[in-house]
Amino acid sequence: MAILRLLELAPAQQQAASGFLQTSAWLLVAIPLLSAAFLLLAGKRADGWGHWVGVAAPGLAFVLGLGVTVSLLGGDAATRVRSLHLFSWIPAGSLHLDAGLRLDPLSLTFVLLVTFVGTLIHVYSVAYMDHDPSRRRFFAYLNFFIAAMLLLVLADSYLLLFVGWEGVGLASYLLIGFWNHETPNAVAAKKAFVMNRVGDLGMLVALMVMFASFGAVDFTTVFHGAPGASAGVLTAISLMLLLAACGKSAQFPLQAWLGDAMAGPTPVSALIHAATMVTAGVYLVVRSAPIFEGAPNAQLVVVIVGGITLIFGAIVGLAKDDIKKVLAASTMSQIGYMMLAAGLGPIGYAFAIFHLVTHGFFKAGLFLGAGSVMHGMDDQVDMRRFGALQKFLPITWATFAIAWLAILGIPPFSGFWTKDKIIEAAFVGDGWRPWVFGLVALIGAGLTAFYMSRLFFMTFHGTERWTKDQHPHEAPKLMTVPMIVLAVGSAFVGGLLSIGGAFSTWLEPVTGHHEHAEPVLSVPAITVATLLLVLAGAYFAWRQYAVSTVPVTPPLASVMTRAARDDLYQDEVNEALFMHPGQYLTRSLTYGDRRVLDAGVDGIGRLVAGTGELLRRWQNGYARSYAATMVAGLLILLVVVLAFQS
């Protein structure tokens, strides 16, 4: 079966980039990078207008990306994988690595998503960060984030991808800890960075195994050699890549940083969750499809990780009262859907990416909406302190509602076209797998409906629960316009790109063509079941949080709820399993170092010093004592010579 899949995946013939637009694709990365450098170096004199440079950079990149996409669309599907050689990067003996870009439907999908959503978030940030004294620095970091993400998705080798990968990690660290004058923010940034390092270890090991097995780390050679490699090697590479993806995409068991990452300014959360950073893991798995295809066991692990994370995130989302943390948990859960789809093989790749695109729109919309609510409520994030905001923030309410319907998967909004397909794909297969995976995806949809509706009703409906001195007001135009654009995207992108399977066809040069397969349940039955569950979830949330009054302080709750409020004790588990043993190990190593190694070295030093101290007594400076020593020595010599002579 695996071999059959490989045949289906025969990649489209790769061609050199041609035409002005394609050969200048390197500008996609260079423009935001230069803008970031400019903003950082320009100093205070750019404080007044620097943010517009920051907005223009991803905007220009989007226009260029659109041009490249159109030029690819001009040719037929077989010519849509282009490579652009940039320069010889590491010419070192047997390792010869070129830096180059790979322009194909997958990377360009990401380019368009990242630059489009990124530009909107930049525009929004102009107003959101209006009162921040270091707004220019903020835009520099945002630009750097975009540049790193574009490098990540455009790279034509795993090593160049790794450069972008690390750049994204650095940018997220800088942005999560942007307000690092408050300790919790700095700690959250460090936590994200450290957990990402764990994932990066997987990436490094995968790179090493690739180099050892294939002698190269560029996509073309590796994918070409993958079918001939042993299953063990492919499984090892796949699992290590999965570890890397888990770190970057906040998948189980490396999910703990995502909630704390909410410490950053809200536009950063939107950027991390919608366009950059967490989507990188899904990209990596889909991009490495030829490797994963050869390792069915690793694919199963991907699906399981996706399934666990999808339920995990949903459960955490059910209990949180912090609006941003609910959204973070929801991202975790939605990325879980994408991972699950990516692990299903060719049947799921296109839908994983498709869901990623629609998720990019509605999740950015939700985060920007949450930012707008916080803007109007003096940075309050506790949903128990919101309520009845509909009439004060009408535009935010409308855009948020569309994004909410999209994430719920209500037709005809975007989420329906992608999430429903993933659930269908999860039901395809034989044996126990489709039932388990399908039901997990189905239950996840119901949970999503409940917690997102809970968030929506608690924030915008029900009774007013604010403190007296709060005066909710609508955000300025610079913030509402991006929200409206994203809401339009959340409403229509999914449906438009689904016409005639347009999106799947567009991705085919990368993901391969896949014949339609029948799920174990009939498609209408799955759709109806999903919709019923979603409506039930929404109804219960409406009854509990819109009709009845919501207590201002969280009520005492069951064990399960308390666990979910505490992120299912993920931090406690990490601390007990890794942090404390690690610290104990460090302490014992330090102790051993001090008691054994240092003691030995110190001992030699003390011995020499002590001997010197003893010998020093002889050097008393009295000429007569030196003379006496000489005479004594002479006498001893005399005695010795005479004794040996006789």
């Binding site: 050097q619 008393n620 400076g621 009295y622 000429a623 007569r624 006496a628 005479v631």
Partner: protein, 99 residues
Amino acid sequence: MNLSNYLVLASILFAIGTATVLLRRNAIIVFMGVELMLNSANLLLVTFARIHGDLQGQVMAFFVMVVAAAEVVVGLAIIVSIFRARRSASVDDVNLLKN
């Protein structure tokens, strides 16, 4: 001639010189002890040269005298300058090398 007489005399002279160098504090007296030791050695050189009928020992004795004379010049100069600096000719006062 009886060899042992010469040897005993030379040994006594050498012992006196050594004791003088080791026990006396005055630099000039110490110097005289050194001269005594040199001369006891000279006595032995000359004695053995006479017994072996060989001139080499006698020549060596002359060398020792010349070197001793040179040494006395340098040594006395040092002692005089030390005396000028410290108003003392005691060898125990010249212990700046300590510490």
